[in-house]
């Protein structure tokens, strides 16, 4: 790809980059978080959010206010911004946006399938699906019995179709298989996204590839951590690791054999990027968990993406930072819903 994005990027994408930088400026600041921490009820949270860029987004909500409603409204707001970017984008940025929405589509498909397992009505689940991952064939997902059914009948026309390569099997979809399906889909998706960014080259590759490598390695670590003590075999576990990260291939092979946290830590110690992260993990309760440390690193990388211009990474970074903000607000607000017996 011809280097020198600064010569031609703005022709097609300059308006959107300017817009996303403006949106980024409206993310919550340290002061906003201090105010949120001092809130005492959900109404306080609503009032504080009115002074930020969120404004009156909760104005139409009926009482009582719940954390779930706040979460849904925040998501809708992000979705509106994202759809605006997407509708005004040109290739190859539009493909980039499509790749971004695939991860939400995967989550929605899994939500629908789990709901079918629990005999929930489709309408009930559709309400809770992530708006960014909406696609027209969603309502038909629950009729599928096996992954090949799912592919042939429902998903063959969607952007998720290419990710089904390793997932076709005749196994019925029970909980274990749904979890395996989710992780395999995500692995294919991540590897495809990585390849797209790498092939695009230029500043986009320089920014996005490290972010996606980190995402792949993080998934490998978290899958390993959560699989201790479960019925997932080591071989199955290894098939779920995305291969586009720094850990591939030796690290992943070692990680597949790990049986506890310390063995995982020893694998991470081989990599200069991950050693300090594992050292920051506190022991037991009270300290940071591995997930916290990973979230912090992700946010760091996303913020740094804004230091370069003329690349698509700013859109990815903005969406991820906004999601982190929503996670923070929901986590803070959930302490107001603790039941007292």
């Amino acid at each position: 790809m011809l280097e020198g994005a600064e010569f031609y990027f703005n022709v097609d994408h300059g308006y959107l980059e300017g817009l996303v930088r403006g949106c980024k400026a409206s993310l919550l600041t340290q002061q906003d978080y201090i105010n949120l921490v001092q809130c005492e009820t959900l109404e306080d949270v609503k009032i504080h959010l009115q002074t930020t860029d969120y404004g009156n987004f909760l104005a139409n909500q009926t009482n009582p206010l719940t954390v779930s409603k706040i979460d849904t409204e925040m998501r809708k707001k992000l979705c509106r911004e994202f759809e605006y970017f997407r509708n005004h984008s040109l290739e190859p940025l539009s493909t980039f946006f499509t790749y971004m929405t695939c991860s939400y589509m995967i989550d929605n498909v899994i939500l629908l399938m789990n709901g079918a397992l629990q005999k929930k009505s489709v309408k009930e689940i559709l309400v809770k699906c992530h708006p960014l991952g909406r696609f027209t064939e969603m309502e038909a997902v629950n009729i599928a019995e096996t992954p090949s059914d799912l592919f042939n009948a429902v998903l063959v026309e969607t952007p998720l179709a290419p990710f089904f390569q390793d997932c076709m099997s005749e196994n019925t979809l029970d909980e274990l298989n749904i979890e395996l399906l989710r992780n395999k889909l995500y692995k294919s998706y991540l590897e495809a996204f990585y390849k797209f960014c790498k092939n695009h080259g230029d500043v986009t590759a320089e920014i996005m590839c490290p972010i996606l490598e980190f995402e792949a390695d993080r998934r490998a670590f978290i899958i390993t951590l959560n699989s201790f003590g479960t019925e997932l075999s080591k071989d199955d576990r290894e098939t779920l690791y995305p291969t586009c990260g720094k850990l591939y291939p030796e690290g992943l092979r070692l990680l597949a054999q790990a049986e506890d946290f310390d063995q995982m830590r020893r694998v991470a110690d081989h990599y200069g990027v991950y050693k300090p992260l594992f050292e920051a993990v506190g022991d037991g309760s009270g300290g940071k968990t591995l997930e916290d440390v990973f979230y912090e690193r992700e946010v760091q990388m996303n913020v740094l993406a804004f230091n370069r211009q003329f690349h698509y990474g700013v859109f990815y970074a903005y969406t991820k930072l906004k999601e982190q903000e929503m996670r923070n607000i929901v986590y803070r607000s959930s302490s107001f819903e603790v039941p007292i017996l």
């Binding site: 978290i222 997932l232 603790v338």
Partner: protein
């Protein structure tokens, strides 16, 4: 006849009872010990209530941490069926003093699994059967008792497991609290009865 030995005729519905001499001090002693027992029970109940609230709060915060990692809609009512088989059942039995006690019994003896992290399941079997119906143990009609943790997937974060452990501990406390409350109610009615008797014995010192 001493004045305090017979109940007065004026009290409607009361029949004269011969309580014997020294009835009043005995009654007072009994009253005192009952009161002490009642206060002890109340203190224990308050301690257990504080512990239960602490467990529920801990569990709830662990649940929100799990939502933080997994996504807010991935840990919620969508993940479990509206009808579920309880894994822990409440049985009642009569103790020697005629009071009911509540026991928690795991539904299947083979798999050492207990109630999952949902508040609905946590409250549901206890409240429904609190009215003291004796429940016959069900035959092995549970097909396969799965850990409710698996409703949320196979690879669940550690915080969800912690939430399950907290709610499990809270369940035992709830059963103990129910037993204590029955004892306290009984104690209060006994107390009232004794106070009535004392009033009848010694109308001037009421």
């Amino acid at each position: 006849m001493a004045n305090g030995d017979w109940t007065t005729w004026e009290e409607a519905g009361s029949r004269p009872q011969f309580l014997g001499p020294m009835a009043a001090p005995d009654l007072r002693a009994e009253l005192d010990s009952l009161l002490l027992q009642l206060f002890q029970d109340l203190e224990e109940l308050e301690a257990k209530r504080a512990a239960l609230n602490a467990r529920v709060e801990e569990g709830w915060l662990s649940l929100s941490k799990a939502r933080y990692s997994m996504g807010a809609k991935s840990v919620g009512p969508l993940q479990y069926a509206s009808l579920m088989e309880p894994q822990v059942c409440v049985y009642t039995s009569e103790a020697q003093d005629g009071l009911q006690r509540f026991w928690l019994v795991r539904a299947s003896a083979q798999t050492p699994e207990e109630v999952g992290p949902r508040e609905a399941v946590f409250l549901y079997p206890a409240l429904r059967r609190r009215k003291g119906l004796t429940r016959t143990p069900e035959p092995e009609s549970f097909p396969a008792l799965r850990d409710p943790l698996n409703w949320f997937g196979i690879l669940v974060p550690h915080s969800l497991r912690q939430a399950q452990a907290s709610f499990r501990e809270g369940l035992q406390l709830a059963a103990d609290m129910a037993t204590l409350q029955i004892r306290i109610d009984w104690g209060r009615s006994q107390l009232r009865g004794l106070q009535e008797k004392l009033k009848q014995l010694e109308p001037e010192s009421a």
